[in-house]
Structures are given as structure tokens and as C-alpha cells.
């Protein structure tokens, strides 16, 4: 049955789908053409080469075309498309349309494909004699990426998932049998509020550029094996590997900075499978960079270099299988949901794995593996050891993160560790000790052979200095409370810092070539120091010991109590601070809770005062989503987030439209007080003083005649150090008695001037105070992260180091 649907814009989707098919076809065509170009023996025949190039250009144009169509659909709010409906909404600001563009799996595949297209074009331009074999591999990878977006049914199985699928095709609902269904779909789902953040605009492109650039060293390694140019591929692979680790490293740290600044899990790294998935290929490729350099300089470690380069890209594919196939299911909070591409992703990993393994086996006998052993006192040997340890640390990450994969493979039912964070930390720290120490020690070794005595003397001196500094740092920061392995990491990082600082000073004296690696190592050392101290000695300062007794069983557990209750305008002492939740403000969907921090010295004088504004979004679709606010100091951060706020807080307007009795129900039973001017009424949260009586009080909109009387009681309320004023009014008009109560919401009071007693020269004030349960409050958690700035500055320094190294290697590349 065909229904003529009204109001649909089918053209952009059809165009987009056309581009997807074209992207797939042209990439496949390019792969095949490049393959024949690479294997052709006729040097003069360039027709295959040109066909390969044309295919690749066509693919690049198609990828851009797909992006343009998808962007147009989201930008124009064409909610007949599932992707736009699911990830965007009319109210979304334009710059977040970019975020919603790659929020879904299809969008992120596109992003990956886009970067790979860009890199492929650079390679066509730059790779010269390597173009044919290298582009064969890159085009093959591009074919696979395009196939992920196909969304066509072949033999009853859906291949890929297209971003251009219509809403009525994606969902089954009776509404879609109506031709005018679109008129009922007013708006899209909108972007998850946690992703409405500038990090979501810049983090995914960086990360996916990192992933995409991993193909290049892989393609060079394959090309080297395939074309039997076993030695030549190493030099360009070094440059591209450096680029890939720099970008991927930046992307990973960006992700952790994002998590730290605006998500609420209270830290910068949680060993979540999705985080691990990005770290895994980074570790192997950073190992690869080192052994590639070893091979280039000494001819040793050829197999390790090839192996690590090859495995890095396969692990990128494996990581994408982990996060996108839905296999992580129960173990990760933020893996993508299953789009039914499980086997498609498995095939992707398998194809590249088989290509790599087959070529290595076929060429095994010809590989230039050196028969001679490395010298013990040589730089190459210990760099090789370091690279292997990086690979081992990666192995540990893979084995633990893949527990659901082992379960699926061996039909077991193992649960992840109950405390995975500690397990990862201890193991990774162990590997970090070796790696950081080697990053220092190798600086005192030369390639080929080093004089052992001299080496031991210099190393020894630096060891002693590092030990002293480590002792001091560990003592001051309190790292010694942690497991001993973390003290060792501190020692390793310090050692690496000192040794590389020495190299850097030498570099300034003329050996400028060495600056890149020294700077990168210094950055890495600082990152380790920052991560270790801030994660290891972070302190929850909102410890709360005020809860009720819930019985022996509960107390016995020695439970952590990390949340603190703040009633509005009631200061609470928290660590060194006096904190007060004193106001709210709203901006867009965000509800900001203003929390005042005061630091007091021994005499009770305020030495410092600032306001933090952790916020929550009350999103009709998401419920309460909270983001932290952080006070940054040079040497520590104070992180604050709201873990709970009463839902009523989000309803704007104060009891509008409720009757008097209804309103009284919000208060405790009233108390009445007969007082004179100057008297004080004590109440639970402070005191109320009758300052004076105002005989000429006015109440808005009520005109008074000569016979009428209106008296106002000027009241001053002092509560928790704050002063408020209120003037309830008593009125006699046309012989009837009225009184107008006044509310002081911030003090939780309602006050009435309920009677005037002239004979005693007194008045009666009726006080309604709010029970605690009606008072606005927030439940808050605050954590102190010491020295976290070392982590961020270390990252920046490391990136600079990578850049310097890339420049250096590129120079070498041109001179060859």
C-alpha cells in the first residue's frame, strides 16, 4: 500500500543516500585500481594509477556531499529524518547542531571517513613512490567506513546504518499510516544536555582525526612488506606515527578535561571501557614510534617495530568494535548502542588482521631481522624494553576491558572486577614505573655502545637526586599514604623529568635535534606527576557526619558519607570553608545554584571569599542533569557539584494561585508574640526585632479614607548572619479588620501583624516558620584535586614536544 505522505522533503535524503552509495563504490573502485597499479609491472602504464586517484577524489567529494546533506537536514529541522529527529531540536543553538551532527554512530563514522579522505589526499600529494600501495590500504579502509553507512538490505541482512533513514522507516507506529503524520511531529528529541557543551564541538573531531591518522603508519608498514621495501617505509612512518600519537593523545586528554570540567563522575579518568578503547591504540603506537626510531638508527628491533605499527591500527578497529557493537552492554555507561552491526565490525577487524598476518608470514624469511644481539649498555636495547612494556600495559587494558568479549567467546559468565579502578591503577602504575624510568635512563645511553662506568656514575647521580626530590614531594603531598608502587611512579617520573631536562639544556647548547623528544618526555613526566598526585590525594571535603543512626548494621560498614546538606542561607562548615547556598539563577535550561565559599582564619576573619555556581538542567526529557563548577587555584582545584536538589525548586513562581490555608500548610503551626517596639522574638534560625510601627502604611491598590487605619510593623530579621526587613500591615477599613502578611522566603518566614493592643502599648506578631522539609536545599559534594594543573600543562608540553619531533623527522625525510 502506498501512502502519499505530505510535507516530506525527500530530496536531501535521496541525494545523501546517493552520495553514500557513490562513496562506497568509488572507494572500492579506487582500492581495486590502486591494487593493480601497485602490482603492475609496466612502469609506463599510469592508467590504473589515474583510475585509483579519480576513485579516491570521487570518494572525497561524496564524503563531503554526505556531510552537506546531513548538515542541511539537521539545520533545517527536517524531522522526517530519524537522525535529525533523534539528535536535534528546534531550540538547539546553531553551534550545537555540529555536536548533534556527530552524536550518533553514523555521524561519527562520517567524521572518521572525512578525516581519512583528507589524509588520503595529502598522501596522494606527498607519498610519491609509496602512493600506489599505501593508497590501496587507505582506500580499502575508506571502503569499509562507507559500507558502515550504506544501510541497504542485501540477502535480507541490513548492511550498515544510514543517517538518511526516514523516521517512518526507523520506527513502527500507527501514526505513520497517516499521510499527514508530519504535522504531528513538531519537534525533535533534542541533544542530550550533557553534550551541549563546547567540548562536544571540538573533542570528537580531534579524537577521530587521531583514529583516522593511525591508518597511515599501518599502510606504510603493509606497503613496505608488500613491495619488499623493508627499510624505506620506516622513515615516513615515523613522522605520521608522531602525528597520530600527538593528535590522538590530545583527543584523549580533551575527553578527560571535558569529563572533569562538566560531567559529574568526580575526576578526570575512570578507566571506563570507552576511555580505554582510545588509550589502547595510543599505547601501542607510542611504543611503535620508539622502536621505529631504534630500527632507523641501529637496524635492531625490526620485527617489534613492524608488529607494533600493524597492531596499533588493528586495535583502533578493535576499539571501534568494542564501543560500537553493543558488546560492552552492561559494563560501560557510555558505549554506543547496538545498531545491529556486530558482524560487520568483526569483519572489518578480521580483514585488516588477516592482511597483516598473511603478509608478515609470506615475507618472514626476507625480513631484515638482525641476528646480532643489542649491547646491554646501548640505548636501542632499553628503548626496545620500554616499548615492550608499553605494549604489556596495553595488553592488561585489553584483557580486562574485553571481559564481555571473553564471555561471548567462551560462553562464560564472568563479572568485571568489583573494583576495576584499583586493579587498573595498580597494574598501570607498575608499567608506568618501568616506562618512566627508561625514558630517563636511555637519555644517558648512546646508540650502539656506551661506556659502562660513565653511564653508572651519571645515572647514579641522577638517581640520588631523584630519590631526594621524590621523598620531599611524596612527603609534602601525602602520596606516601598510597600503595608503594605509586611512590615508585613518582620516582620514575621525577627521574625522567630530571634526565630530560638535562637533555633539553644540552639541546639549547647546540644539539637542537634532541629538543623534541626531551620536551615530549618532560611533558609526559609532568602528566604522570599531576595525574598521580591529584587522583591519589584528592580529598572529599564535603564529608558529612550528621546523619541519623540507621542501626548497627549500617554504621558497622564504615560507610563513606560524601554528600553534604545545605539549606538555603544556612552556612555550614565544610573543611576549611564556610559554605552557604544563597541564591539561584536560571539561564536557558540551566538552573545555577549559587554557593558562597568563605575561608576563615583562626580568628574567624575571612581570608578569601568566592562563589561557585554548580548547575543542574531540569530537562523534561532527561530529568535532573547536573554539571560541576570548579574553583581553579595554581596548585589545586576545588570541585563542587550538586548531587540532589528538591524537584520543587525547579517550578518557577511562588505558590501562585494557592489559597491562604493552602499556603499555611507550608509552615509550622504559627506562634503569637505580644511585643513592644524594640523587643525581640527569638525563633529557630535567628531573631525578629520590632524596629518601629509605621502609622502611615500603604498597601498597594487599596485607597484609604479618613476613617480607615493602616499600621505597619517594621521588622528586622537576623538569621545566620543575614539581615532581612519585612513590614506586615494591619488595617481597619470600612469597619472591617484585615491584615496583610509578609513573607521572607530566604529566611523561611511568614509574618503577620495580627492584633494591635493599645491598652498595653503592644502589638501581636504571628510568626510562621517553615519546617526544614519545606525549605529550599541542595545536596552537594565537593572534592579537592591537588596539583591537577601539572596534568594539563604536562599535556601541552608533550604536544609541543611531538610537534618539534615531527618537524625534525620531516627535515630528515626531505634530506633523504
Amino acid at each position: 500500500m502506498n501512502i502519499a505522505y505530505q510535507g516530506e522533503h525527500l530530496l536531501p535524503g535521496q541525494l545523501g543516500q546517493f552520495f553514500i552509495v557513490l562513496a562506497f563504490g568509488s572507494a572500492l573502485f579506487s582500492t581495486i585500481s590502486y591494487y593493480f597499479a601497485a602490482t603492475s609491472t609496466n612502469k609506463l602504464d599510469t592508467s590504473w594509477l589515474w583510475m585509483g586517484r579519480i576513485g579516491y577524489f570521487l570518494n572525497s567529494i561524496s564524503v563531503v556531499g554526505i556531510g552537506t546533506c546531513l548538515f542541511y537536514i539537521i539545520y533545517s529541522n527536517l524531522f522526517e529524518y530519524h537522525y535529525a529527529w533523534e539528535h536535534s531540536s528546534r531550540t538547539l543553538p546553531v553551534y550545537y547542531i555540529i555536536s548533534s551532527f556527530w552524536e550518533g554512530q553514523e555521524g561519527s563514522f562520517w567524521l572518521w571517513g572525512f578525516w581519512q579522505a583528507v589524509l588520503g589526499n595529502i598522501l596522494i600529494w606527498k607519498a610519491k613512490s609509496w602512493e600506489k600501495p599505501v593508497l590501496t590500504i587507505v582506500a580499502l579502509a575508506q571502503t569499509f567506513l562507507a559500507s558502515m553507512l550504506l544501510g541497504v538490505d542485501i540477502f535480507g541482512a541490513r548492511i550498515g546504518s544510514s543517517p538518511f533513514i526516514l523516521l517512518r522507516q526507523a520506527l513502527q507506529a500507527p501514526i505513520f499510516s497517516r499521510p499527514e503524520y508530519l504535522s504531528f511531529i513538531k519537534d525533535g528529541n533534542g541533544l542530550n544536555p550533557l553534550l551541549q557543551n563546547y567540548w562536544m564541538v571540538i573533542h570528537p573531531p580531534t579524537l577521530f582525526l587521531g583514529f583516522a591518522s593511525m591508518i597511515v603508519p599501518f599502510a606504510y608498514a603493509i606497503a613496505g612488506l608488500w613491495m619488499k621495501r623493508y627499510k624505506e617505509w620506516v622513515q615516513p612512518a615515523i613522522s605520521y606515527s608522531l602525528f597520530a600519537v600527538m593528535v590522538l593523545g590530545t583527543g584523549v586528554v580533551m575527553g578527560s578535561l571535558w569529563a572533569y570540567e562538566s560531567l559529574n563522575f568526580g575526576g578526570f579518568w575512570a578507566w571506563d571501557p570507552v576511555e580505554n578503547a582510545a588509550l589502547i591504540p595510543w599505547l601501542t603506537l607510542i611504543g611503535a614510534v620508539h622502536v621505529l626510531i631504534v630500527y632507523k638508527n641501529t637496524g635492531h628491533a625490526y620485527f617489534t617495530a613492524t608488529f607494533l605499527t600493524l597492531i596499533s591500527f588493528i586495535l583502533v578497529l578493535y576499539a571501534s568494535f568494542l564501543t560500537r557493537s553493543g558488546i560492552l552492554g552492561d559494563t560501560s555507561v557510555h558505549a554506543f548502542t547496538d545498531l545491529g552491526m556486530f558482524w560487520h565490525l568483526v569483519v572489518d577487524v578480521a580483514v585488516f588482521f588477516v592482511i597483516a598476518v598473511t603478509l608478515v608470514i609470506l615475507r618472514w624469511k626476507e625480513l631484515p631481522i638482525s641476528k646480532k644481539e643489542e649491547e646491554t649498555y646501548s640505548r636501542e636495547f632499553w628503548m626496545f624494553v620500554g616499548a615492550v612494556f608499553l605494549a604489556l600495559s596495553c595488553l592488561q587494558l585489553i584483557v580486562v576491558t574485553s571481559i564481555p568479549v571473553w564471555n561471548a567467546m567462551f560462553k562464560t559468565h564472568i563479572a568485571p572486577p568489583t573494583n576495576p579502578v584499583t586493579l587498573y591503577n595498580v597494574f598501570q602504575a607498575g608499567f608506568a614505573v618501568v616506562v618512566t624510568l627508561l625514558a630517563g635512563i636511555t637519555q644517558f645511553l648512546k646508540y650502539k655502545k656506551t661506556d659502562a662506568t660513565r653511564f653508572f656514575i651519571t645515572t647514579g647521580i641522577y638517581f640520588v637526586f631523584s630519590a631526594l626530590i621524590t621523598g620531599l614531594v611524596v612527603y609534602i603531598t601525602g602520596v606516601y599514604h598510597l600503595r608503594f608502587v605509586f611512590v615508585l611512579v613518582m620516582f620514575g617520573a621525577t627521574y625522567s623529568l630530571l634526565a630530560n631536562t638535562k637533555v633539553l639544556t644540552d639541546a639549547f647548547k647546540g644539539k637542537i635535534k634532541l629538543a623534541g623528544s626531551a620536551v615530549a618526555h618532560i611533558g609526559f613526566g609532568l602528566m604522570m606527576v599531576g595525574a598521580l598526585i591529584s587522583a591519589g590525594t584528592s580529598k572529599v571535603i564535603s564529608q558529612n557526619d550528621t546523619g541519623l543512626d540507621y542501626g548497627v548494621d549500617f554504621a558497622k560498614g564504615n560507610n563513606p558519607r560524601e554528600n553534604i546538606m545545605l539549606y538555603k542561607n544556612e552556612p555550614v562548615k565544610m573543611g576549611d570553608y564556610m559554605v552557604t547556598y544563597f541564591a539561584d539563577s536560571t539561564k536557558g535550561p540551566n538552573h545555577y545554584f549559587k554557593v558562597d565559599y568563605k575561608r576563615l582564619d583562626a580568628n574567624g576573619k575571612i581570608t578569601e571569599e568566592f562563589v561557585l555556581k554548580p548547575n543542574s538542567q531540569s530537562n523534561p526529557k532527561m530529568g535532573l542533569v547536573s554539571s560541576p563548577d570548579t574553583k581553579h587555584y595554581l596548585f589545586h582545584d576545588l570541585y563542587t557539584h550538586v548531587s540532589m536538589a528538591p524537584a520543587e525548586d525547579f517550578q518557577t513562581g511562588e505558590d501562585a494561585g494557592h489559597g491562604q490555608e493552602n499556603d499555611d500548610a507550608n509552615y509550622n503551626p504559627p506562634t503569637t508574640h505580644e511585643i513592644k517596639v524594640g523587643d525581640t522574638i527569638p525563633y529557630r534560625d535567628g531573631s525578629i526585632i520590632l524596629v518601629s510601627l509605621n502609622k502611615e502604611a500603604h498597601v498597594q491598590n487599596i485607597p484609604l479614607s479618613a476613617n480607615d487605619v493602616a499600621v505597619g510593623a517594621e521588622l528586622k530579621i537576623i538569621s545566620h548572619g543575614n539581615t532581612y526587613n519585612a513590614e506586615p500591615v494591619f488595617m481597619v477599613k470600612n469597619g472591617s479588620v484585615f491584615d496583610f502578611s509578609r513573607k521572607v522566603d530566604d529566611a523561611g518566614l511568614k509574618l503577620r501583624l495580627s492584633k494591635i493592643i493599645p491598652e498595653k502599648d503592644k502589638v501581636e506578631i504571628t510568626v510562621y516558620d517553615q519546617p526544614e522539609s519545606k525549605k529550599p536545599y541542595i545536596v552537594m559534594r565537593a572534592i579537592e584535586f591537588p596539583y591537577i594543573n601539572f596534568l594539563w600543562t604536562g599535556t601541552i608540553i608533550m604536544i609541543i614536544g611531538f610537534l618539534l619531533s615531527i618537524f625534525r623527522r620531516n627535515k630528515e625525510l626531505k634530506s633523504v
Binding site: 604489556l392 568489583t418 597494574f427 602504575a429 549500617f554 560498614g557
Partner: protein, 136 residues
């Protein structure tokens, strides 16, 4: 013995240690009955009993949340979590707890729950809550 062989053995030893430690530290999925028989922490999968009391009162204690959960075998236990009530807990379809039995209460250190997503139709969303700030 060649230096590289020694190093090779060390590497293999570490790799084996990694695998064994992973297996050793891995937990099991169990029931409340099994939790009563062991001291150590384990994972329990189950469903919230929506007919019984879900207790969280920030005014009395901001760090006490209790509820009743039925495990997959149908046994029910009171569960106590030291922290705030996770958002939309009432709507959860499935809960995974990590913790141990203490008397007749199950003390959870980690809660992971699946809720029908309010944000995307027909999808289930997973959220987590920890009682304690992660420490290394």
C-alpha cells in the same frame, strides 16, 4: 643464555600474570542467597520492588538511600546505598549492584541501573552511581 631470551621469558611471565590477575580479580554474578554465604563483594542483578518503600530523605540524612530489590531468582532483600538517590531510580528496569551482605541488608558500593530512555524512544539508558570517590 641470550639476553633476549631472558627478556622474552620476563615478558611472557608478565603477560601470564596479567591474565591470571584479571581472572583472579574478576567477580561473579550472584544472588542474594549466594551473597549471604560469602564475605566478599559480588555483582547482583535484579529488579526494583516497586511495591515496597523507596527511602531517601535528604533532610534526615543526605547519604542514606534504601530500597528493596528482587534478584533474578526471586529472592528479595533490603539494599542500602551510602549516597543520594540516583535520578529516576523509580523507573529503573534492571539494576546491577556491587556490594556485600551485612546482616539482612545488602550494602551496595556501586549501583548501575537501566532506565527506559526519556531522551530517545525505545532505547534503554544505563546510569551508574558510586558511594565513594574513586581512589587509587
Amino acid at each position: 643464555m641470550k639476553k633476549s631470551s631472558i627478556f622474552g621469558i620476563v615478558v611472557i611471565a608478565i603477560a601470564i600474570a596479567v591474565i591470571i590477575s584479571t581472572y583472579g580479580s574478576s567477580s561473579t554474578y550472584g544472588s542474594f542467597t549466594e551473597a549471604k554465604q560469602t564475605q566478599s563483594d559480588l555483582h547482583v542483578i535484579g529488579y526494583l520492588d516497586k511495591n515496597k518503600e523507596l527511602y531517601y530523605d535528604a533532610h534526615k540524612d543526605a547519604n542514606y538511600f534504601s530500597f528493596y530489590m528482587k534478584d533474578k531468582k526471586g529472592n528479595e532483600s533490603k539494599v542500602v546505598f551510602t549516597g543520594t538517590k540516583p535520578q529516576d531510580f523509580e523507573r529503573s528496569e534492571q539494576i546491577v549492584l556491587v556490594g556485600h551482605m551485612s546482616g539482612n541488608e545488602f550494602h551496595a558500593s556501586h549501583i548501575q541501573m537501566k532506565c527506559p530512555s526519556k531522551y530517545t524512544q525505545d532505547k534503554v539508558e544505563t546510569t551508574e552511581a558510586d558511594a565513594k570517590q574513586g581512589s587509587i
